[in-house]
Symmetry: C2
Amino acid sequence: MNETTPADARPTGVTAPAGFRAAGTTAGIKASGNRDLALVVNDGPDHAAAAVLTLNRVQAAPVVVLRDHVADGRLRAVVLNSGNANACNGAAGIADALATCEAVADRLDLAVDEVGVASTGLIGDRLPMDVLLGGMDDLVAGLTGDQSGADAAADAIRTTDLVPKQAVAAGAGYLVGAMGKGVGMISPAMATMLAVITTDARVTPAMAHEALAGAAELTFNRLDVDGSTSTNDTAVLLASGASGVTPDQAEFNAVVRAACEDIARQMQADAEGVTKRVAITVRGTGGEEQALTAARVIGRDNLFKCAMFGSDPNWGRVLAAVGTAPVAMDPERISVRFNGHLVCADTAGTPDAREVDLSGPDITVEVDLGTGDAASATIRTTDLSHDYVHINSAYSS
Amino acid sequence: MNETTPADARPTGVTAPAGFRAAGTTAGIKASGNRDLALVVNDGPDHAAAAVLTLNRVQAAPVVVLRDHVADGRLRAVVLNSGNANACNGAAGIADALATCEAVADRLDLAVDEVGVASTGLIGDRLPMDVLLGGMDDLVAGLTGDQSGADAAADAIRTTDLVPKQAVAAGAGYLVGAMGKGVGMISPAMATMLAVITTDARVTPAMAHEALAGAAELTFNRLDVDGSTSTNDTAVLLASGASGVTPDQAEFNAVVRAACEDIARQMQADAEGVTKRVAITVRGTGGEEQALTAARVIGRDNLFKCAMFGSDPNWGRVLAAVGTAPVAMDPERISVRFNGHLVCADTAGTPDAREVDLSGPDITVEVDLGTGDAASATIRTTDLSHDYVHINSAYSS
């Protein structure tokens, strides 16, 4: 054996940690002929699992089934399809999601409730079960712990993502790998954010849940294009324990967060129709929660987002938006910085405010609401572009 | 005198009721050379007045001044400019708004606090006071109770409105006239909704306030494109008492509401970048307030709005949006109708759901959230189009 591994070929994705196999195949759910069925298997020795699921009251069938199957803190596999969300299909949709789990369980000799399921695509159409199940033998046959398995799985969960999204982060004696698709709130054409995070650390289900929930709150949940929360949003963490290392909780939290942050940044960069990546930081209100609320209000304002698309340093849009936020502020002492340049001080424009250059792809917006409170929070959002409208104007037709 | 009045020349606008004069002129605030300064004068015998002003915490100087001047329930004139919002200019902005009122008061022999003021345009630039005051003699000289005065005033408050907006409604022995611009929430390029309503009914300030507040809530406040609330939103009602008729409060409320509804529909029809007018009605939740909240959540969802632009009957967008509304619902029993056709029943699609024709300019969306509650509420919104993005991407630059 004399192979060398180039620097950019460091293992990444869900098979980077020990104890995992993955696969992706073309079942035919998508008309395009692109891959549309993925599988991640945890070969143990542990099978701890946790999930963070959509807060939308209208929940897709796979979300309902996954919540049930992960309730005991254990999963041995997760099967995911793109091209159809299996949402709003009533009891038939639940039956289809269960049948999908069952097809995996049969082939891997697992119990049905050891298999999680996730879907992304159009809402309201029944899953083509004959097509999906027809791809299952090929999917299972393709399972591998090599990079190619992770790559195929990450590819198969894409909808309109331009590139697959994978990450790896190293802990003290263990690894965390991840794959994600979309969007959720950042590239809403796809209407859903899916992520599978794997680790060979030895952790309890409670440790897994704390790490995943905390990471999701600070990464995926702070990407915000339009406030939409999909019926299908799903993030799952699987822990194999294959490294034999039981990490410190705080250190584990940080490593999981790093992997999720990497995926979230890839989502922001790849979001459809996006020409600007905008980071909005708010301080000077009534603590971090209020800072987060105010940053979301600005990040969701269409007038602000259109101004960003136009590289227009129209700080008045920031003032008009933040003035509607239900948070503490001194309306006479608000300041705004674009890319570090002070454009508004004490709620009035600075002399050169209209001259700030926002032509680059990355824009920072810093807002101080004037109360003197030091706590801050940051939301990442995007501009509102012609392409956003184009992509989303004919999604189902 | 042998002139005849054509049927479509029925007096309309702020001079339709007795006791009012109006004017509009080009002071030169706008680079375009279009009219930019308007005046409405109440010649009495009464001078009752009421105002409904923006709830934004960041409030433009004219809003602060108008609130102060109308606090005693009396105004004899309102001066309005377009082309500059006089917002976020600190104490200097307040001084400019007061100087504008003073210039009118001097020429009409009024007290300064008998003059209201309103502005619309870009936030953050100082008013060019020499230019504005330079147009004041011409403005006052043009005051007339004829239709031409109302027409000139309605024209002068336009920003990017394609047409002036005027209305008249007849009560039992009195008239209500109105002019409006914009948009506020419907064509947010202009960032502001201004409206002046006049009547020759004899009403107290309290009666005027009840009628205006109620009408605004049911008309202007139920137009909702993007949830934006401008720093300058202003609606003023002036009552001259010149008819000698003291109306019944309920009847007066209805007539004022009719005039405001007319203006609001003109705003919806004229909103920039709009290709669809969408009325969203929600029922089956926990009462009218919750129905209103749910309708707003749908109407503000960019994915839904893009689907409307594309005439795409993607009812999944409605379900995904309404599922995030903080209102009572039975998530398994939601129904949706597009243009009267049932597209979703019991949270699942109907067989022909994708075939509904949404190609016309008017679309109705009816959502039943399944609780059995009969109360309903309707929000009027628009689609999210390429032109919306284009218009708002370079507003200040």
